[in-house]
């Protein structure tokens, strides 16, 4: 089985987000980028499938810092790693990259395309459905367990309230991974250093082929409400202050 797994680099949310001058994007120049967490799970699931039944895993990374993440993917067990060129300093749009990924899936004779169910730049989780549609392959998103039996996949999908649904589908398929069957493994520094010698392939983006349907006109950072009050660290003064506030709001008698 040939598995193609998509790794998207997203802005580190621990960093300070600032708007770009046009007010329609975030200023990416001073940001650190990290692997989208769901994509990390997709990679783990791909490696677990490889370990369970044998597969060739090709990892494709998009965005700033792709090389570093691809070395990590190689250290974890990816057989081939490819950096997909993308527009610099721009968010990774699922609409934009779907065609490139579909083309790579065909080129690599992929049986299975895995990506994270969503990312902070794709909260609708559109990548898997787009790629599935372009390839005309079946697609399931929100998976938390994938078992391969030859060309037949059993895919468990999480629903609310602890309900889990299991699908059976034939490859080729596109899956959006919510969590891998096991938490992503730790890969040691010495393995990373070994993997730093792995050759990284390059892939040029394909034209998306989509007409733009809507565009961002404004982006807003969360505004400090100013309604919080720090009550300090001393339990007694905190309690006093709390009682006063509650009383002032008519929620308690002083």
């Amino acid at each position: 089985m040939n598995i193609l797994v998509i790794l998207r680099m997203i802005p580190d949310s621990a960093g300070e987000l600032q708007l770009a001058e046009d007010g329609r994007s975030i200023d990416r120049e001073w940001l650190d980028f990290q692997l989208n967490d769901f994509d990390d799970h997709a990679l783990e699931e791909a490696i677990l499938l490889k370990e369970a039944g044998g597969a060739k895993v090709t990892a494709v990374a998009v965005g700033e810092g792709a090389n570093r993440v691809l070395q990590m993917a190689a250290a974890r067990g990816a057989d081939e790693v490819v950096a997909l060129q993308s527009e610099e300093d721009a968010m990774i749009s699922s609409r934009e990259i779907a065609a490139s990924i579909a083309a790579m899936a065909r080129a690599k004779s992929a049986d299975l395309v895995l990506c994270g169910v969503q990312s902070s730049e794709d909260v609708f989780g559109q990548l898997a459905p787009y790629v599935g549609a372009l390839l005309d392959w079946p697609h399931v998103s929100g998976t938390n367990r994938i078992v391969a039996n030859g060309a037949v996949l059993r895919v468990t999908q999480e629903r609310g309230a602890g309900v889990a649904v299991t699908y059976e589908l034939a490859t080729p398929a596109v899956l959006g991974v919510q969590t891998a069957s096991k938490a992503p493994r730790y890969v040691s520094g010495s393995k990373l250093r070994e993997a730093s010698k792995t050759p990284i392939g390059r892939a040029m983006p394909e034209s998306s082929g989509f007409e733009r349907s809507a565009e961002i006109i404004t982006l807003r950072l969360p505004v400090q409400g100013g309604s919080g009050e720090n009550l300090g660290g001393n339990a007694e003064t905190v309690a006093d202050r709390l009682v006063t506030i509650l009383a002032a709001k008519g929620l308690a008698r002083n």
């Binding site: 580190d12 621990a14 960093g15 300070e16 001073w30 940001l31 650190d32 990290q34 938490a183 493994r185 730790y186 890969v187 040691s188 520094g189 010495s190 393995k191 990373l192 250093r193």
Partner: protein, 651 residues
């Protein structure tokens, strides 16, 4: 003499049995990987003299030290009796008489026989009456058998001499044996039969002892001296490098330990001094440095088995419990190296990806961002913003002192305040200093000790490259852990920097009269020696000088300086959970400080200590009785507002 042949047979048999019982160890040591421990013979010999001749570490526990010294000296004196007993019958005609075997040597033997019994008596008193907790887990039967054999050897020696006196020998040099002779005489034993009986009991017990030793902690009679001789002479803060011959970074079978690491196992006396000082053991975690060694030793003795070393002979929980505080190695009288073993086995776990979620997160953050908190590097120097003056970028302009700030001092809001205090003190003293801003990475000290050698190399190399690109004279660190890495571990990369802790630099500035400080009125404070400043790097005095210079009176806790008790954060423990901890080491330590009864400040000199002990004081609910202050907070330039001392109820 008729007994020559039987004695020869007995002796040869005993030696053969001893060799047979030692064969596994001999084979294991012969096949073990090499260790470079043959350099500087005079220095090594000197260490042996101090350790054994002076009983330096032994005497830290006075009763044990004294009783061991008594037994030890008596052993050498009585060795003359052993030589006499075997020599005289193996080689007919041999006698010590020409050099005083029947006069002054006889008198010494007589007296030291009694002393030996006194020593054993004290040992019995300690082991069976006082019963120190450090003996928990040591083999009781082994100790008992040894006591019985020693008593048998000494008693038979005295009684044999007594029987000879009964038979008409001169007893004037043997007062004790003469007294016993009176008893024997009254018991009506024939002098010749008695002499023969006690002789054979004596040599029999000695040979039994010899045969018994290979399977007993009494191996230390032969191995303690070599083990001390071959001790590590590297700086204490240098973690062992991964040997080039080793394929993976870690160790997952006993045979991969080099011969010195294996010799350590055989030298253990089960005295438990390591266990008594271990913070993980005190916290209820499944680590006793003593049992770590004896479990490894027993596995070595048992020979190859199916059970894995890591996760089998030694559990993962045991390995992760260690704070790498080095108290065990400091306490060990025979210089056993616990930490290199733990680190090597951790390296195996890390290489296999077998790490706890907390550790995985910290290591992943360190890989990605160079700090364990997962904060962007751009925010590393954020603390400088609230200073009233700019801090030089050491990458841009030359500085006298390159300040390696460290993760906690840079990022942790509880510590940033202190970092700024240090910056203000340096400025007040006119020090030309700069920092690396976002180019600084975690020093890798604890990463390395958590077993993540590859990541350590990456972090170290990155820091070394940045530091080497700067122009500076000396490096100062806030964190003792960074101090240790930069000063010691970075030597592996050929980097030899002059590195000092901020307490050392500040002490230097005060001594040079460059800091004019408010002087307090002698209020009593206590001070916690950080493991990586004190035990690892000998930085005991500078912090104490600073406390004195600031006008405070130091009231040391019982466990201070080399015997300081770890806060529990080191070696990557700070990134792990508290599962299984019955009493946090930090809380144990705060209780110790409270028991002093007259200190209001718990003075620290390590950013992690500020975090650990503030949390411990909150958890114990004693914030009104004790306050954690960094040593930099005690030092207030006269140009600033003096520190207000909280009142303390003296108990």
């Amino acid at each position: 003499m008729a007994s020559t042949l039987p004695l020869w047979i007995l002796v040869i048999t005993a030696f053969a049995l001893t060799a047979w019982r030692s064969r596994r160890y001999a084979v294991a040591l012969a096949n073990a990987p090499a260790a470079a421990r043959f350099d500087r013979p005079m220095l090594r010999l000197q260490g042996v003299m101090v350790a054994i001749g002076m009983h330096r570490k032994m005497l830290r526990k006075p009763l044990s030290g004294v009783l061991h010294a008594i037994i030890f000296i008596s052993f050498f004196v009585l060795l003359t009796a052993t030589i006499d007993a075997f020599g005289s019958r193996l080689f007919p005609g041999f006698s010590l008489a020409p050099i005083g075997g029947e006069t002054w040597i006889a008198a010494l033997q007589d007296i030291f026989s009694v002393l030996m019994l006194v020593g054993v008596g004290l040992a019995l008193y300690q082991r069976y009456v006082l019963r120190p907790a450090r003996f928990d887990g040591s083999s009781g039967s082994d100790a008992a058998i040894i006591y019985v054999l020693i008593v048998l050897i000494v008693a038979s020696l005295l009684l044999e001499a007594a029987a000879r006196i009964v038979g008409g020998a001169d007893g004037s040099w043997r007062p004790v044996a003469s007294a016993l002779a009176g008893l024997l005489d009254r018991a009506g034993m024939s002098a010749h039969a008695g002499e023969e009986l006690f002789y054979w009991v004596h040599v029999g017990a000695i040979l039994a002892f010899l045969v018994y030793i290979p399977g007993s902690k009494h191996r230390h009679m032969f191995l303690a001296a070599p083990n001390i001789y071959f001790r590590s002479l590297e700086p204490r803060g240098l973690a062992p490098a991964v040997p080039e011959a080793r394929e993976a970074p870690g160790i997952d079978s006993l045979g991969q330990f080099d011969w010195k690491q294996q010799l350590d196992l055989l030298s253990c006396t089960e005295c438990g001094r390591c266990q008594a000082v271990c913070p993980a053991h005190a916290a209820g975690l499944p680590l006793s440095p003593k049992l770590l060694i004896t479990d490894l030793r027993d596995a070595l003795a048992a020979g190859p088995s199916a059970a894995p070393l890591v996760g089998g002979v030694i559990s993962e929980e045991t390995l992760w419990a260690c704070t790498t505080c080095r108290a065990c190695m400091e306490a060990c009288p025979v210089e056993i190296e616990h930490l290199p073993k733990i680190i090597d086995m951790r390296r195996h776990l890390v290489d296999e990806g077998r790490v706890s979620p907390g550790l995985q997160e910290a290591l992943s953050n360190l890989t990605r961002l160079g700090n364990s908190m997962g904060k962007p590097s751009k925010m590393r120097a954020r603390w400088t913003r609230e200073l009233g003056f700019p801090v030089k970028d050491a990458r841009e302009e030359p500085v006298d002192v390159l300040w390696f700030v460290g993760d906690y001092a840079s990022y942790d809001p509880r510590v940033q305040e202190i970092t700024r205090k240090v910056a203000e003190l340096l400025t007040a003293a006119g020090v030309d200093f700069g920092i690396l801003f976002d180019a600084e990475r975690n020093s890798g000290n604890d990463v390395r000790r958590a077993g993540e050698e590859g990541l350590f190399e990456t972090l170290a190399q990155s820091n070394i490259d940045e530091i080497k690109a700067c122009s500076f004279n000396r490096i100062m660190t806030t964190d003792p852990h960074s101090l240790n890495a930069l000063k010691n571990d970075y030597q592996h990369f050929g980097a030899a920097f002059e590195v000092l802790h901020y307490t050392a630099l500040l002490a230097e500035l005060i001594a040079a009269g460059k800091l004019d400080l408010h002087v307090a009125d002698g209020a009593r404070v206590t001070y916690h020696d950080p493991c990586y400043l004190g035990r690892y790097n000998g930085g005991f005095d500078a912090p104490r000088e600073l406390i004195r210079a600031a006008g405070y009176t130091l009231h040391d806790m019982p466990r201070c300086r080399e015997n300081s008790f770890c806060c529990g954060a080191g070696g990557g423990r700070i990134w792990q959970g508290d599962d299984g901890v019955t009493e946090r080491p930090s809380e144990n330590r705060i209780r110790e400080a409270l028991s002093l009864g007259d200190v209001a400040y718990f003075v620290v000199a390590c950013p992690k200590d500020k975090v650990m002990y503030t949390a411990a004081i909150d958890a114990l609910g004693v914030a009104d009785r004790l306050k954690v202050v960094d040593i930099a907070e005690l030092l207030v330039p006269r140009t600033s507002q003096a520190l207000e001392m909280p009142t303390v109820e003296t108990t």
